[in-house]
Symmetry: C2
Subunit: 440 residues, 2 copies
Amino acid sequence: MRLSRYFIPVLKEAPSDAQIVSHQLMLRAGLIRQEAAGIYAWLPLGHRVLRKIEQIVREEQDRAGAVEMLMPTIQLADLWRESGRYEDYGQEMLRIVDRHERDLLYGPTNEEMITEIFRAYCKSYKDVPKLLYHIQWKFRDERRPRFGVMRGREFLMKDAYSFDIDEDAARKAYNRMFVAYLNTFARMGLKSVPMRADTGPIGGDLSHEFIVLAETGESEVFCHQDLVEMGAPGADVDFDGDLQPLVDERTALYAATEEMHEADRFAAEVPEDKRLSARGIEVGHIFYFGTKYSEPMKALVTHPDGKERPVHMGSYGVGVSRLMGAIIEASHDENGIIWPESVAPFGVGIINMRSDDADTSAACDKAYEALTKAGKEPLLDDTGERAGAKFATMDLIGLPYQLVIGPRGLKEGKVELKVRRTGEKLELPLDEAIKRLAEG
Amino acid sequence: MRLSRYFIPVLKEAPSDAQIVSHQLMLRAGLIRQEAAGIYAWLPLGHRVLRKIEQIVREEQDRAGAVEMLMPTIQLADLWRESGRYEDYGQEMLRIVDRHERDLLYGPTNEEMITEIFRAYCKSYKDVPKLLYHIQWKFRDERRPRFGVMRGREFLMKDAYSFDIDEDAARKAYNRMFVAYLNTFARMGLKSVPMRADTGPIGGDLSHEFIVLAETGESEVFCHQDLVEMGAPGADVDFDGDLQPLVDERTALYAATEEMHEADRFAAEVPEDKRLSARGIEVGHIFYFGTKYSEPMKALVTHPDGKERPVHMGSYGVGVSRLMGAIIEASHDENGIIWPESVAPFGVGIINMRSDDADTSAACDKAYEALTKAGKEPLLDDTGERAGAKFATMDLIGLPYQLVIGPRGLKEGKVELKVRRTGEKLELPLDEAIKRLAEG
């Protein structure tokens, strides 16, 4: 993309109501614009990152055997009356009345709707297991939306739902999502730790939050240091195989959010030099809830013995738009964002130091064409801005690499290649720089 | 994808309230499920087609130089009060009040919001032209939603907006979209004809609807036969060059929807053997509206002479979800849908005639692996259904090719390759069938 044809409205300063660094940087780097409290437009650069995050989530859901579909944003209130949640949900639910005085709502989550879909078509043990997901906009009317996309009202979420014959089978779906989440967040350059979460009145131990560690995280978390270093299982996992050992390995060690933390257990179970207390951000939540919805909504399947029983369900969420904030919280410096390559809006920024110089522009065009061809998605700053402003913008928007091309360097046959994360700079011939970037 | 792990709930009969063939087939083939009047869930197969249609629209917008972003679904009523449309819009607007008693609405279109975004950042003639688009869910509270996704309430739309210094410059953006639309619809196997549309009180001749011809179309249209055969300019168009000749060629001949039709002119301008009256479906609408929004909303740019003037705007819509219905209306037979290859949910259907036979299953697996590797996205029916039902389902869901593998054929070293559109069947060795499909 040529910046002269693009639209990145960077700001000198973030509005004073942006309290956390990811919110400030997203506004300053022209990723988002607030359109109402907790409601954002995704400007071109932010939209590109959002799509890359979404695509990683999608690929890992697919790999785990989940099947993608798409439910609408607007739902019938009657559906929620069936489960009993319409009244319970409270003011966070955005309630709507249509022209025919019918009660609707903007979906904050989709357990009811997916249960309705399942029960319409699936009646037998032969129809399970099913593991379905969608990536769709949700709305929760937060009393006090804040922290930018971290606690917005309209937000993009991946939610998956599993349907199984019994709890044992449901645990297999749960494990699939558990492992898929580890891989998902690792691909975004994040260190995530699964932490036991409150299951509420249903009980059981099948609920985990996935917490990303970041100095500026929203809440305090406590865990065994080894969990952080354990790494993700990776793309070679056999999702049809037994995933229980992978899950056990990661749930055997202590890990708890502030709400679930037990200081005594932490001290007793974790050696002192392994006790990590840090700040964290919740980016995923998986939950087995048995027949909580299938019972009242009569989603029954006939078992081999001929009897009908409610299907066992779980739900599995990832905060897709929230992840953008979490990634920035985990990866930035005083000059701006530092995107991991996997979610960077563009792979390389090319800075034309003198757009009015024909040789410089020709060299930039050459690099631009070659890197485009190599699939590196370069962003070429071909505007008439002064060099200092171009450097600052490029650091702010945080592309992994910068290729600086100017008339002085070209005379010596050199361009500058800068690594955004380390600040490392190399002077080398243009062809070599292109080759390095194309192969990197 | 293996059908045993997928979810295609086909129906024997369409519900009786489905009046048109695309609605019937979308329900029967398990593409969609109605969740409320005019509100649909996109089941896995339907979701795949929707994403392919969306991706073609996106690629052609990008090629034409439009920049993608994403605006939220929920908007502030105040924004629409600025333009004067909040009261005017009537009952089709879904009005919402949030927990703080603030007036919101579910966006039926985005002229106001994009104008607000433009005016926040762009102040000078140096900041134009801008051509921005997004693909997002919209809501129009139709009094009587009907015809499935053709006239739903929640629907997916691509809307682009152009910002230019004056009408001459705006016409260039208009022409870009005009040509992009021809290419977009052609890639989906549709014959589209641009027809002059009513510009309302603004006047001028810069508004066109893009009409797809289909026997079962919603309204009558009239045009010169040559327009239908003219074809699309194709991917080689230079969008930075002069597009006016391409546009002129397609607007010189008579073409009008029922509302704009003038029988006298039709008779006078079109030779009798070229007079085509047919049924059509509107799938796109482009519109230059000058300063209609920029004036009341004060989206001003400073001209080189130092004076501020309202920016000139246009808007350009494509009904993404509606296109699925239009494609089916234009391409089906008595047995089901016939997807054009570009939007088919899967490229090839492999039918295992005897899932309990090891050799047959091995041959199916071989074909499945090879075609997956070749990027043909096969769907393998590996279920225990009887052969007749498998044939019927495969015809109904309309994949372009079917590869039928059974024990009897294999004994003779043969499989059957069927072309869905023509019904043509070939018997040939498995390897040859794979090769044909992989290279096709």
